[in-house]
């Protein structure tokens, strides 16, 4: 018996060591660090206040979307309508403001519309049992069409000054947008860790039957997940409108790729049941950083896209290899 306990203790120690080394977050911090120093010493424009603020600003919007995407991925779903919902929210907040509505009411409108879009996804996924991929693909297409109809294909401008200056401003050298991003990330992290809803997301991602038989409402959890994601997309849309000082019909296009990539880089599994906010935050930073560092080194933007794609694929392969070796 004594040897048995000792054995278990040993196993526990080695398991802890292993999880520490294998933590996606740690390897990502290392990669980000290497990239950072390479660019800092290799180029002259990287380590400037302007560039660093820019990286954070770029990361902020994708970052908020990616955090929401991680929630959906944890439930075993995927949301490719996020870019379109962001676009819709951008349009809403811009149209409201250009027609004279105040900043706060316009933001409320944008968020409510985004939540409705999220609920629409949940209706398709839960009530009609449509695969999340197909459901959100449908929503994406509908929204992209609606955006063009509403905006008549044109740019909406005329946003309030104080609204846009908040987005370009900083507090204690940190861009306001990045503060919002990190605030949201912290809240989302706390929800996953401390709130029953957060646990339920993981259970749902492990299997619907498990959730059902353990008294977890699949309906409630699905609706809450998609509605909450909708809300965050709405906020991201408002941030985008403030940052570019207008709403263009293509706003948010392609954001879904980066959001999903950031989640997966951060350790979320598309099979559901796993994902971390820390990882997603770092994943977002990494994607933006790769792009920025590439530009600093003067690499062609088309080639940069190829490189970003390769990084994502490599991350997925490494993740699979880790899973295999840990079994």
């Amino acid at each position: 018996m004594a040897s048995n306990t000792k054995n278990l203790a040993e196993q526990r120690r080695s398991a802890n060591m292993k999880t520490l080394l294998m933590r996606t977050e740690i390897s990502m911090v290392l990669i980000i660090g290497v990239l950072f120093f390479a660019a800092a010493f290799g180029t002259k424009n990287f380590l400037t206040a302007y560039n660093l603020t820019n990286i954070l600003k770029q990361s902020a919007i994708i970052g908020v979307i990616a955090v929401a995407e991680t929630y959906i991925i944890i439930t075993g779903g995927i949301d490719i309508s996020c870019g379109a919902i962001v676009g819709m929210s951008t349009l809403m907040v811009a149209s409201c403001q250009s027609s004279g509505i105040g900043i706060f009411p316009s933001m409320i409108v944008a968020m409510v519309v985004a939540i409705i879009c999220g609920v629409f996804n949940a209706v398709l996924v839960h009530e009609f049992n449509v695969t999340a991929f197909v459901a959100t693909l449908g929503t994406q297409t509908i929204l992209r069409g609606l955006i063009k109809v509403i905006s008549n294909g044109g740019t909406v401008s005329g946003l309030h000054k104080s609204f846009t200056s908040f987005a370009s401003g900083s507090t204690l050298f940190v861009p306001n947008l990045a503060i919002i991003w990190l605030g949201i990330a912290v809240i989302c992290f706390l929800i996953l860790r401390y709130v029953v809803f957060g646990r339920n997301l993981f259970v749902l991602g492990s299997g619907k039957e498990v959730a059902k038989l353990n008294g977890i409402s699949i309906r409630k959890t699905t609706y809450m997940a998609y509605a909450f994601a909708g809300l965050l997309y709405g906020i991201a849309g408002i941030m985008l409108a403030a940052r570019i000082n207008s709403a263009v019909p293509t706003a948010g296009e392609g954001y879904e790729t980066n959001a999903i990539a950031a989640s997966v880089l951060g350790g979320a599994s598309l099979a559901g049941g796993s994902g971390s906010i820390m990882g997603t935050v770092l994943g977002t930073l990494l994607i933006i950083l790769i792009d920025n560092v590439g530009t600093q080194f003067g690499i062609d933007t088309f080639i940069m896209q190829v490189i970003t794609g390769c990084v994502i694929v490599i991350a997925i392969i490494v993740d699979q290899l880790k899973k295999r070796s840990s079994r």
Binding site: R12, A15, K18, N200, F202, V203, S206, K212, L213
Partner: protein, 512 residues
Amino acid sequence: MDDNVLLKIDGIVKTYPGVQALKGITTSINKGEVRALVGENGAGKSTLIKCIMGVETPTEGKIEINCDGKWESPKNAIEAKSFGMQANYQNVNIAKNLSVAENYFLGCLPRTKLGTVDWNQMYESSQKIIDKFQLTVDPRATIESLPIALQAMINISKISINEKVRLVIFDEPTALLENEKVVTLFNYIKELKANGVSVIYISHRLEEIMEICDTVTIMKDGAYVETKNVTEVNKDYLISKMVGRDVADIYNIKHQEPGEELLRVEKLCGNSFVDVSFNLRKGEILGFFGLVGSGRSEVMRAIFGVDKVKGGSVYLRGKKVSFKSPKDAMLSGFGFLTEDRRTDGLALSQSVELNVNIYSYDMISKASIINLNKERSRAEDYREKIGIKTPSIKQCVNNLSGGNQQKVVISKLLCRNPEILIFDEPTVGVDVGAKDEIFKIIENLIAQGKSVIIISSYLPEAMGMADRLVVMAEGHVAGILDSEQLKKVNEEDVLRIASAVYAENNPIVEAV
């Protein structure tokens, strides 16, 4: 001499990070020999099988199979198959979305002259196998739509496709089977043996080993103990060697004097059962036995609010209740351990900690904010109390053995402190040692005045544990045996009731 040997297992060692799963196993199996492999869960049986089949590469040692005088070592599963080795793994591993026929011919679909799939031939040949194994299933039916016992049987009958088979491995084949199908399986094993095919047979049911096997190899904690002829050993001997201690009679627990009626079910109708009535008293263990398809699990699912109730009523402490969802049942003091812990009992990819708490997060949270200290301490408490063997409560439950997974499920239920516990097949895929522990937990529960319903397709267990036994047949209650009657009847009597065709005017078989 060597010619007669089919399989040589030579000093197999298998090490995983942190665990030595096999500590040097050496034995050999003759042609036409039926070899039992016994040991507790975690003894390394499944790992050994995987090494034999080339699924896992041994850290040390060699597996050799005699292919008509040539000794071969399979490097992977495909090679193993080409050497005539077939394995029937514990967790039914068939393609759920495909039809029965496609599963039979997976990897070797018959072709027409044009090279397209020959569906007619496939269905015909499949029907032959289905007939041979006396199954009632359409070869066109998808696996998913079939009950799990039938899926298991299809998985077994699939082996007969391979005509050049030399070695067949069965890992817990009867865990999900009803008795008559066990007979079919045993006949098939006898047929294999007669054709000179060797069989490795793993089962926790030692009676079966006595019946069908020639020799038995005992393993304990990854090590080889010994190999004996089954004629030389008995059940108690095997158990003492496997466990390293004597387990006198695992069903011999202390029963309680049942108190007042707690639950009454009247003429309940639902998905595949009709007019089911029974009651459950405080401190009582009510057994439920029936062949697969008799509707015993469905009754429980309906009471628990998983499936729809089509008629009849359920009374809890004399008050009529009807649960719309498992959550309602849960809040009213029911705990349900489901038949298939891997699909609906546990969140497999999640930690022990989460799974222990999964059923009762509302109890350790305020305004839905979870108290992390309580979450952790509950998991640690139950790990200690129930004896869940895991390196850490952060361990993913998928990595635990069957017995330990089941203990996690039980802990999860106990966290709510339920009044009525329904255990559907609590010991499937659980080794003798853990079985004993599970029964001890049940003994404890009734001593605390809880009531327990145990569903089992394993008759000695159902009869051994129950104060009263409800026998179901074809969706009806065929009989309820009280403790006096239970003492008088033997297994065959109960089986006869369970296989009775339901007659309208004879719903209850009186004392046998």
